[in-house]
């Protein structure tokens, strides 16, 4: 499979995430769209890792293709930490204004 096809797939998923963030007003759905964008980037990193594994020029390096997958692993670690803090913030927001609509969060506007 060509690398362009993988880039196109990841871009499509990433753009769907962006459209979701722009269109939806529910804070939980917006947060899930951010997770979708992170996963699109993860897929692209793994595809690039396997692209380097196929090319003979970089085989001299010791960790020629595993670095990107370690990076994906750390992205998952950071995403797990982010989700715990973010959902705590959303629960706190629901407790204060009894809604998860981000349009109500305009107290800094004036």
């Amino acid at each position: 499979m060509d690398i362009q096809v993988y880039i196109a797939l990841s871009l499509t998923l990433f753009t769907i995430g962006i459209v979701g963030v722009l269109v939806r007003r529910n804070a939980i759905i917006i947060f899930m769209c951010v997770e979708l964008m992170l996963n699109a980037v993860n897929l692209l990193l793994v595809a690039f890792s396997k692209m380097h594994a196929a090319s003979p020029a970089v085989k001299a390096l010791p960790t020629y293709a595993s670095d990107a997958q370690i990076f994906v692993f750390f992205i998952m670690v950071v995403a797990a930490a982010e989700v715990s803090v973010g959902l705590a913030i959303i629960v706190m927001m629901y407790r204060n204004i009894h809604s998860v609509d981000v349009n109500f969060l305009n107290r800094l506007k004036n």
């Binding site: 499979m1 060509d2 690398i3 362009q4 993988y6 196109a8 797939l9 871009l11 499509t12 998923l13 753009t15 769907i16 962006i18 459209v19 979701g20 722009l22 269109v23 007003r25 529910n26 939980i28 759905i29 899930m32 769209c33 997770e35 979708l36 996963n39 993860n42 897929l43 793994v46 890792s49 396997k50 692209m51 594994a53 196929a54 090319s55 960790t63 020629y64 595993s66 670095d67 997958q69 370690i70 994906v72 692993f73 750390f74 998952m76 670690v77 950071v78 995403a79 797990a80 930490a81 989700v83 803090v85 959902l87 705590a88 913030i89 629960v91 809604s99 998860v100 609509d101 349009n103």
Partner: protein
């Protein structure tokens, strides 16, 4: 068209379709379930790329832990399609148009490049647990230890934010 190409396009179709269903479904519970379908199809992509460790970790961490946390919060707040906030159709149209324009520009840009790089599928040892474990505990031992501090601070932060006072 061989079986690998067929599996790739099937998984891509499932991923993109479920992602679109996720952002268009009214009920937040349905959105969470569609996002789980997206994560499973991305895990299928990892298996197709022979990244077995990441496929398993993606299912355990994302589809298992993170999405259960989302589902838990959605059900805790008792959100359903009736509590959906008021829609502004003009803003939605502008958002879809902006996203579509971005996708069009990026796709046309990457179709213009002519690299002859091929992604290695179904073979290769870069994604096996042994190789990744050796890399993680030899070259990346310091970030691995720092991530434990990150988890501790995230845990303390979540407890402090969620505390009732």
């Amino acid at each position: 068209m061989n079986i690998t190409t067929l599996a790739f396009f099937l998984l891509s179709f499932i991923a993109v379709g479920s992602a679109i269903m996720m952002i268009t479904s009214k009920s937040p519970v349905h959105s969470v379930l569609w996002l789980i379908v997206v994560f499973f199809s991305i895990s299928g992509h990892y298996i197709l790329l022979n990244a077995q460790f990441l496929a398993v970790v993606n299912i355990i961490v994302y589809a298992g832990a993170i999405m259960v946390l989302f589902l838990f919060v959605v059900m805790l707040m008792n959100l359903n399609a009736e509590t959906e906030p008021i829609k502004n159709y003009r803003l939605q149209l502008i958002g879809v148009l902006a996203g579509g324009a971005l996708l069009l520009v990026l796709i046309s840009a990457i179709m213009r490049i002519d690299v002859e790089q091929v992604v290695q599928m179904k073979t290769g040892d870069a994604g096996l647990i042994k190789v990744l474990g050796m890399t993680l505990f030899k070259n990346y031992i310091l970030p691995f230890e720092i991530s434990s501090v990150l988890f501790l601070s995230a845990m303390i932060g979540a407890v402090i934010i969620g505390k009732k006072d």
